[in-house]
């Protein structure tokens, strides 16, 4: 392996942290969805790193599953954003507080 496993996992943690910050602080629904994609990518990187470290392809099979789920999630999420924009004329999450306690 080219670099220590530690550095791969550290990179994964940093990207995941950036994704969490984006999902929590941004108010544009589309950017929140992008941040979720970023978090899924960070997890994929950890899977690939561990898969390489133990020379076991199972981790990469999991990555393929995660990519499939991410694609499905984006399709449904953007459908929700479209119908939200049609009803509210906005993509601001603060406008959608119907279920907020």
């Amino acid at each position: 392996m080219l670099v220590p496993l530690e550095h791969v996992i550290a990179l994964s943690a940093v990207i995941f942290g950036i994704g969490v910050v984006g999902a929590v602080t941004r108010r544009n629904v589309i950017v929140i969805l992008m941040s979720i994609e970023l978090m899924l990518n960070a997890v994929n990187l950890a899977f690939v790193g561990f898969s390489r470290a133990w020379a076991n392809p199972t981790g990469q099979v999991f990555v393929l599953m995660v990519i499939t789920v991410a694609a499905a999630e984006v399709a449904v999420g953007l459908g929700i954003v479209l119908s939200l924009f049609r009803n509210r004329d906005s993509v601001d999450v603060e406008e959608v507080s119907l279920l907020k306690w």
Partner: protein, 167 residues
């Protein structure tokens, strides 16, 4: 340090910069999506350096090719030039949250130091189409088939959600 290691750190820096650019750009949603493309492609390069060739190809095709195009398509369909929203709450909780998550990340990295085992060299053909395909169609054939139902449900759900009116 070998050339591969240098490339890893270069692409790691590019990934972090691009994801920061995506999250911190509050003016232009299209620019955020383009930063996401850069992050995805750099991650694909890192997968190649980690001997995950099939995953790298699929990363480029599905993420950089399909998912980000879908994002751009929706951004342009909604004609969102800017997304400056009126300020409704104070910035203090946001800054405190970012500080707390930064501290948590630092603590995690400190805990991580020196706990992971040394790495063995990869066997011949690791991460290629043959080995991954064999695993996918023998040990993991049931989850693989279950994804087809997931994708079907996602297609039907997306069509129904995005349709203007259901007759």
């Amino acid at each position: 340090m070998s050339a591969g290691a240098v490339l890893f750190y270069v692409f790691a820096g590019m990934t972090i910069l691009a994801s920061l650019g995506m999250v911190l750009n509050v003016r232009n949603t299209v620019a955020s999506a383009m930063s996401l493309v850069v992050a995805m492609i750099s991650l694909g390069a890192i997968y190649v350096l980690l001997d995950a060739y099939l995953v790298a190809a699929i990363q480029i095709m599905v993420y950089a090719g399909a998912i980000v195009v879908l994002f751009l398509f929706v951004v342009m369909l909604l004609n969102l030039r800017t997304d400056v929203f009126p300020v409704t709450r104070s910035r203090l909780p946001k800054l405190l949250g970012i500080a707390a998550s930064g501290w948590g990340l630092f603590a995690f990295l400190k805990l991580l130091h020196g706990t992971l085992p040394a790495v063995s060299p990869a066997p011949e053909g690791f991460g290629g189409f043959r080995e991954l395909g064999k695993a996918l169609f023998t040990s993991y054939v049931l989850p693989f088939e279950a994804t087809s139902f997931l994708l079907l449900a996602a297609i039907v759900g997306a069509v129904i959600l995005a349709k203007r009116r259901i007759d």
